[in-house]
Each structure stands twice: as structure tokens, then as C-alpha cells.
Symmetry: C3
Subunit: 184 residues, 3 copies
Amino acid sequence: MVPLKPLQLKAFTLCMRLATELKGEREVILFAYRTGDYDELNVWRELDGRLSFYLSGDGVFFQVPELGALKTHLCVTWDSSSGAATVFMDGRKSLTKIYKKGHTIRAGGKVLLGQDPDSYLGDYDAKQSFVGEVCDVNMWDSVLPDRTIKDLVSGKRVQRGNVFDWETIQLKISGTVEVIHREL
Amino acid sequence: MVPLKPLQLKAFTLCMRLATELKGEREVILFAYRTGDYDELNVWRELDGRLSFYLSGDGVFFQVPELGALKTHLCVTWDSSSGAATVFMDGRKSLTKIYKKGHTIRAGGKVLLGQDPDSYLGDYDAKQSFVGEVCDVNMWDSVLPDRTIKDLVSGKRVQRGNVFDWETIQLKISGTVEVIHREL
Amino acid sequence: MVPLKPLQLKAFTLCMRLATELKGEREVILFAYRTGDYDELNVWRELDGRLSFYLSGDGVFFQVPELGALKTHLCVTWDSSSGAATVFMDGRKSLTKIYKKGHTIRAGGKVLLGQDPDSYLGDYDAKQSFVGEVCDVNMWDSVLPDRTIKDLVSGKRVQRGNVFDWETIQLKISGTVEVIHREL
């Protein structure tokens, strides 16, 4: 995935729609952005069903309904100035956790969907890869208002991602991935 | 339940609202359509909480949020030409599974709610019967658009079932069943 | 919490928004109203995840999705004349249970959020206290229509609580409680 602007970020909203039936069996990586030495931003479904994200180090965890066969609209938001971290599932907002206040995500790395780049784009762990459907991956360099996230869930195109925009994105496919184009 | 047209079907959408607190204890049959020798279309809540349906043989399974005390609007759809099978819970669509492509459901059987007709309308298994509330059972001989299913959830009467229409349906009651008429 | 009218009630709707990550570990009390000798109205998240409420004695239980990090709009309703008891989560109504028909809740007690007053405002059990976010606690002396509860979920201010109104309520804070004022 090729970003529209460098990922030097002090805040972000990352959204996607996904469905997966790997419930309970294993941890699954949903999104990975890695620079040479750091996992800058990884989003995981943990072994116990919690959602988490990691900014170069320890993560922040949210106890949410399990992902499953029903398609879920998922967003994670983070803001460096307050450290406020939240997740949204189908527009429902979580409680707020304070995480990595003052941190900055570094530019110049690579983004992967559904694979963990344990060393820089080399050594993948098949047991952590994603199996299911994912689409509508969009990213912004700010925290979107709750209302805007609800509009995204219902399909209103209020604001297209200014870091990643799924409608114009260039994907490089590797592994067993089927790309399906659908009209909305 | 007496159908409005023969159930010789190459596609269907079957919807109902239901609530049940039998969570985790046992498998529960939600809908059964059986001809002389075959379980033509059975919809189950499996022991592990998954939803499933069976067209004369092995079934297709969906890992979804557990049914419980909250009323759920459930739809299952299937289309013979593509084999596409999906479920919807409260308008949220599942991922698509390919199941029994080319199959046809046979006409001339009987439909039951909440009972498994193990031999043709004879031998019921009380342990598999449904306990809870069920209403708004409607069936169509086509796959409804996602948008139409969302409208059904919110109570808009865009399209009445052309195989079963809950508003004009004739029910034959047996066992401990209480029928409550409500104005919508 | 100081009520706008005495809590001598033959019916009520009690709503709140809450998020908590104490899943599975322990029982949690969400709302407690106690007169000298009786727990007049207690709302619990039970050890097994069920929601329950108790009117001076045995309670009524609802098997619902687990509370977690996502904010949930929760209502419980009860009507003495029919005994009808229901819960709503994010506007989704549960099946109806018949509970304490003919009972009256007594006036003259004290209301607490997130603490169990085992003897009259004395002996708290820290293991049963609430940890998380709670807001928008409103109470009515009648059962609100389903439609009105859906409007409350989406933030429409159709009807302010006539027993407790969160916007004008006087809170007496004790323990580690942070009060955050937010514009809606």
C-alpha cells in the first residue's frame, strides 16, 4: 500500500471493514506499518479476542466483541498531544485510554495488510496472518469526529482518507489474495 | 405454515426475529422444511453458538455473535447459480461462503418453526426444540439486496415475503405455544 | 444522587451509558437504590455476564452480550401492573420476563452508582464496585415506548428523566471518581 503522504504522524484514524472466523484460535495481525527497525503501527486481534495496537513497543488493549463472520467496521484513533486512544466498532466508541503521549510515528516505512513483517519485509509468520475479508482501508492524519466515523459506517463518503484512500490505492498483492472489485 | 407458492427454490432469503436464552446448552432448530425423505432446508443454532443451514446434507456454518435475550433480526440467503450463502444479523452481513452450487430445493414438503421433523412429521426431539420468542418469519424466492434487508430490520415494509408472508400466514399450533398479536 | 420526586414507583425506566472492562472476573453493581432495610432496586452485571435487577429479593436475569470497552446504552424497564421486565442494549429490546407483579418500590432511600450499600450506606465491598465510565443516568416513573428508547440511544432529547435527569443532577462524589463535563 502506497501512502498519499509520509506517515510521520502525531495523530491518526485508521479504519477498515473486515470479517474473519479465526476466533479464539490464534492472534491475527490486521495492519502493519514498519520502518527499518521499528513496528511503527501494528493493529492486532489478540489471542483472547481483544483488539490492540502497538506504536513501537508495548501496546494498548481493548476488550470488545469478538470479530467473526459478520462484517465489522473497525476504526482505531490516537492523538499524541493527549495520548487519547480509542477504538470504534460499527460506530460504537470505546472508552478512552491514555497511550504514548508525545510520541511520533516515523515516516519512510512500508504498510502491509494481514502480515507481520517481523524483520523488515522478510520473515512472515503464517500462523499470524489474516484469513477473511478486508476492504475499505482508509487512514487519516487526524482524529475524526465520532459523527464522521458513524457516517463512514453507513457508507456516506464524507471524507476520503488523506494518508490512505481505498478508492485510489495501489495494492501490491502477494500470497493467496483474491481482489474483488465491487460497486458501492 | 402454509406457503404462498411451491418451495421449489433455486434461491431464497429467509428472515425472522428471535430471542432465546438456551445459550451454550444445546443445539436449537430455528426453521425446518422437510419433504418425504429429505431435510430440504434446516436452520440451526449449533452447540458452539454458530449459525448454520443445511440443504439436504452437510451444512454451511457462520461464526456470529451468540443469540440471547436481545431480539435479533436474522436472515439467511442462498443462491444456487453462484452458491453464495450469507447470513445477516440486525442488518450486518456476514462474509460469503460457497455452498451447494447448482442445487435445487424440492417442493411438496412441510415447514415447521422450532421443531426438527426427524422422520416426516413424526419423531420430534424435545432437546432440540426452540424456547423463546420468534416472529416476523418471511421468505422470498430470491436473494434480497443488502439495502432491503436493512430496511426490514428497521421495520420498513418494502417487500412482503412471496413464499411466506408473516402478516397473512396461517399457523397450525401444536405443543406449548402462545400466539401474541401485536400492532406494529 | 438526589431524585426529582420520591421513588415510590409502580413502574420505571432506568437508562445509562457505560463501558467497563471487568469482563468475567467478578460481579459488578451498576445502580443501587436502598431504603433502611431493603435493596429496593439494584442493577447488576453478574459473574457470568448476564444483566440482572433485583426488587427487594430475588432478581430477574437476562442473557445479553457482555459489557466491555465499547460504550453501551443500557435501559431496564419494569411495570408492576403486568410484571413485564425487559432490558434494552443500544436500543435492542430483550424478550419480556414476568417479575414481581403488583410490587411497589418504596420511597425514602438513597441512590448510589457503582457501589453496593450492603448495610444502609455503610459497608461497601470493593470487589463489587464499578470500574469504567458511566454517564447519562436517567430515570422515569413509567415504561418508555421502544421508539423513545431508540431516540435516547441516538442522542435525541425527547424526554428528560422525571425521577433522575442527568443534566441537572446533583452528584455527591466519594472514592476515586473523576467527573468530566462534556458538551453534547
